[in-house]
Amino acid sequence: MPDVVVVGAGIVGAACAYYAARAGLDVVVLDRGPVAGGTTGAGEGNVLVSDKEPGPELDLALLSNRLWRELADSGPDGPGPGPAGGGFEFEAKGGLVVAETPPVMEALADLAVKQGVEHAVVEPGRLRDYEPHLAEGLAGGVFYPQDAQVQPMLAAARLIRRGGESFGRGALMLRTGVTVTGFVRDGDRVTGVRTDQGDILAGAVVNAAGTWGGEVAALAGVRVPVLPRRGAILVTEPLERPLIRHKVYTAAYVTAVASDSEGLESSAVVEGTPAGPVLIGASRERVGFDRAVPASVLGRLAAQAVALFPVLAGYKAIRAYCGFRPYCPDHLPVIGEDPRAPGLYHACGHEGAGIGLAPATGHLIAQALTGTRPDLELTPFRPDRFGEETP
């Protein structure tokens, strides 16, 4: 019998499994689909501190940023932050947030001071020292050297593999194509999962089902409101040489992330990848699980990216993809044991920041599972904070 069953083989499930195995627990990871088949495989691989409001999410992001660096540096797949980047293309590229107008620039600079993270205010005349191809007429920016990027699918797969290889045979087992259909209970206590391939008893269960975390919670009779917020990414043809050095986005992105609007919001988020294509985001819409992204959304993303980097007009966007951010009403993830169903731990609802926040989430879950005092206060992330009404 494993100590822990992790439901979900996305980046958060992979990190929970890795850190639990590292803490000496035997772990089984289940997913109804493949590794990184949900939101993990549909993002850009952001590891950001720059877009976080001061508070619990920024604390989580800073802890996670440090852990990502450790994972990239210590991997058997090659030290980071070189080209191998821990085997998952970790790039400590830094993020540049740009402002279109002087008042926005002032707000950006204020936010950076409040965040208290490493940053540099960039005068308009120096922007091109950071990004030679940026448009004219911007009011300045703030550079965040800690912002980074990983290839999220590789990262999830590497963490699972590394967990199994590093901590002894049987420490971490992956089973894909297994659907969780319910929970085994002993009174209130969760003592395992029911699946379409039989019951698996375990000391604890971690719900790392991302955007589908609310459905898994419901199987245990508890309410965890995770809603889908669709995002689309436009992908250019591969570039021979990097044109864009950092993650670059407009200040509007910060307000879009924090917004509660159901309608379409978009702001330019542009970055290169080691493989060559440039990724162009970001849109946010609450439209359920509808995968049909209208061409108008993609057109808007392209126009915003070209406004920021006119040079991109000379390249073709050759494809696009979309995914569903796991969105909680208060924009914070759900991390920790559920007092309504002891033995069930949640690690979901990270919205668009799941890649960045995954290692800290896994680390904190492993501490909770082993009864160690967590490095961060988990109260802001507690699973029963939402009440019982439907949003």
Binding site: R241, G314, K316, I318, R319, C322
Partner: protein, 131 residues
């Protein structure tokens, strides 16, 4: 006759040749460029930016975007999704030598690259790839 063609009773129109990096390569009408290259024993026609690893047909059905190739001067088209046509000039290798953007006239050349077949847009490699 080619036994595979006999098996499916194929009776293709007369073949022709296209230019692949200056070499004449035979085409059976209706073949995709990916099929043409594969049939000619060409398994890889570009390399990755980091590591210079070979890339060619991977999925073969338009999903993976690994088989990008330059056709009549238009870079980054999926070989598996484009029908070979008489007069085609295929250039393998890296899409943008020197990291320069595609020339402005490229999109015009694409439109002018020959009449599109029924329901078959030669520009299908661009844009809306997520449906």
């Amino acid at each position: 006759m080619n036994p595979a063609r006999r098996l499916v009773r194929a009776d293709p129109e007369p073949g022709f040749e296209i230019d692949v990096d200056g070499e004449a390569v035979p085409v059976v009408p209706g073949q995709s460029l990916g099929a043409v290259l594969h049939a000619a024993g060409i398994r890889s026609w570009r390399t990755t930016r980091s590591g210079g690893r070979p890339r060619g047909l991977f999925c073969g059905i338009g999903v993976c975007f690994d088989c990008l190739v330059t056709v009549n001067g238009v870079p980054s088209l999926r070989a598996c999704q484009i029908e070979a046509r008489p007069g085609d000039r295929v250039t393998t290798g890296r899409p943008h030598p020197d990291g320069r953007p595609a020339a402005d006239h490229a999109s015009t050349e694409r439109e002018a690259a020959g009449p599109a077949g029924p329901g078959r847009d030669r520009g299908a490699g661009g844009g809306r790839g997520d449906s």
